[in-house]
Amino acid sequence: MADSDKPTRREVLRDTVRLCGLAGGAFALGGIATRSEAAEMVWQIDPDKCTECGLCASACVLEPSAAKCVHAYAQCGYCKLCFGLFRDKRTGDTTTAENVRCPTDAISRTFIEDPYHQIAVDENRCIGCALCVKGCHQFGNGSMYLQIRHDRCANCNQCAIANVCPADAVVRVPGHRPYMLKRPKG
């Protein structure tokens, strides 16, 4: 009965540890909340480094990949024979449906005025395979490029795409500027 009145040594020890734990936890959370000078980092594809290898489509932990094609209109040449859209077939008709590069038919074009056609990428269909990026980069202005979409990206501690990227093109960027967009100078 005396035990219930006076705490034993063991109980005092436990209470102390608990108190320390509580204080430590509060301290840690407070410290983290105020340690704000460092920015939260997110993953992004550096379009300058990207070699269009196509691993973005398969390496991402998400299905479909968080990497998707972005089209910089201001850089686009509005080519009639767009190699982002069509395969670079040197003979025969190249602007027919059989020759479309994109495996998911995510790229569409609309006629503007002779000879210019506008290209648009349907992000919902894009799987990030980089076939169009390769075509556009090789024969065009490089206006199509891959970016990791942050409305999809799980922001893994170690990006699975970065693990396999042969050109070391997946880099960490500050969370408040999460995209590396191609923009005209000035």
Partner: protein, 440 residues
């Protein structure tokens, strides 16, 4: 400094790139008569609003689980809570952020002062531990989606022989040490990468990981929560915290009738039988001195092994691997330049840069790997003492550090629990146990 440089490069690179590509490529900007070049839709930013919902839900679920396990003592209600947690944290939030993985972020944040630990991750690390300090491992019982997945599948628990259990139970400690080493060097986040269940949550994953996850789920039909008990590194921390739990599961609210039924019902072998005979003191002393003598030898042995293995462990790091690949390419130039070497050149970095980066990581491993080895040695030495723990009780009691708060034992206990809620009977001989539920 290196990171700051990298960030700067990241910001500036696209501008430089544009200049280059516009020069290199042929198509001139079109001259339209009446067409304005559209500006691409601003890419969606990262949605951070869910973070606070996650954190608030975690806190609520921890308190709710504690209330159900300790006060309501209801397995049925707990099952509903854990199903909800499985649905929300697992399948809806795709198993990320999770407390188990948060260990790595905390380790990385401690090692790298330029990394800011996100508040959610910090909360997911701290809150379950705080809950364990007060209510035991309620996180495991009702909140962890990975635990829920295994627990809900358990149909026919079979007992694991004690001789098998001891080495299996050492595995989480080893895993914890290794995960901290690889995360703090920034080499790999093994807990995330080798998470057996996240593939199910995302409905997509590496084939081998899905196979591993399926194997664990198949095993958990017969062995209670194999991942939680024999792998989970966060369970180690929870185990330590819950030793100090203020309120933890107490099987019977009244006098234990020593019927053994709760121990049979517990699929995790967490209920300790009463200490019938006191262990021989001289025997205990002998084992203690033997262990104390062996411990330094084991620690030294494993630390040496860790030191020997540190180059191998470092070579798993991407930066070290890159340095080796570039050096090889420099010494034996291949006919076709590799993509990596080409990319490295384009950014005007030399092999020396890669080398400096790689050797810094190798240096970190040269320190970290022996520490990991020493830790493993210590774990093995102390594991042999695990059955020497002092057990003061004369009743069947849940061991708060290994009890996963699943609430199975309550219904197994034949002592009527309803009376617990009634005013205490005037029986001096029956001393009510610690006010487990009542004080919550």
């Amino acid at each position: 400094m290196r990171r700051a440089g990298a960030a700067f490069l990241c910001l500036v690179a696209p501008l430089v790139a544009f200049g280059q590509t516009a020069d290199q490529h042929s198509q001139p900007p079109p001259q339209f008569t009446d067409y304005r070049i559209p500006i691409e839709r601003a890419a969606a930013p990262r949605d951070g609003s869910f973070q606070y919902v996650d954190l608030a839900l975690l806190a609520c679920l921890l308190v709710l689980t504690a209330w159900i396990v300790l006060k309501r003592r209801s397995r049925k209600e707990l099952r509903i809570v854990s199903l909800f947690a499985l649905g929300y944290f697992g399948f809806y939030r795709l198993g990320c952020v999770c407390s188990i993985g948060s260990i790595q972020n905390v380790a990385y944040a401690i090692a790298h002062s330029d990394y800011r630990l996100p508040l959610t991750v910090a909360g997911f690390f701290v809150l379950p531990l705080l809950a364990a300090l007060f209510f035991g491992r309620v996180f495991c019982g009702g909140v962890c989606p990975m635990g829920a997945m295994q627990d809900l599948l358990l149909v026919k628990p079979i007992r694991i022989p004690a001789s098998w259990r001891a080495p299996l139970e050492a595995a989480p400690y080893v895993y914890l040490g290794a995960a901290i080493l690889f995360a703090s060097t920034g080499s790999a986040f093994a807990i995330c990468e080798y998470d057996p269940f996240v593939g199910f949550f995302r409905m997509h994953g590496h084939f081998l990981m899905i196979l591993f996850g399926s194997a664990i789920l198949a095993v958990s039909l017969f062995i209670g929560r194999p991942y939680c008990r024999f792998l989970c590194p966060y369970g180690v921390l929870l185990r330590w915290a819950s030793v100090f739990a203020k309120y933890s599961v107490s099987v019977t609210p009244q006098e234990c009738v020593q019927c053994h039924m709760c121990a049979d019902a517990c699929p995790f072998e967490a209920i300790q039988p009463p200490a019938i005979a006191k262990q021989d003191r001289t025997e205990i002393r002998r084992r203690l001195t033997r262990t104390l003598a062996v411990t330094p030898i084991l620690i030294a042995l494993f630390a040496f092994a860790g030191w020997r293995m540190s180059p191998m462990m470092a070579s798993w790091d991407l930066r070290v691997h890159r340095a080796h690949v570039l050096r090889d390419a420099e010494m034996h130039p291949p006919k076709v330049k590799t993509v990596l070497a080409d990319a490295w050149d384009r950014h005007r970095k030399t092999t020396q840069d890669a080398y400096v980066e790689g050797s810094a990581v190798e240096h970190e491993f040269a320190i970290g790997a022996p520490i990991l080895g020493a830790w493993i040695g210590l774990v093995f030495a102390l594991k042999s003492l695990s059955n020497l723990r002092r057990r003061g009780s004369n009743d069947y009691e849940a061991d708060s550090s290994s009890c996963l708060s699943c609430a199975r034992c309550y219904s197994a206990c034949p002592v009527p629990h309803r009376e617990y809620a009634l005013p205490p009977l005037p029986m001096a001989s029956i001393e009510p146990p610690e006010p487990v539920g009542g004080a919550v």
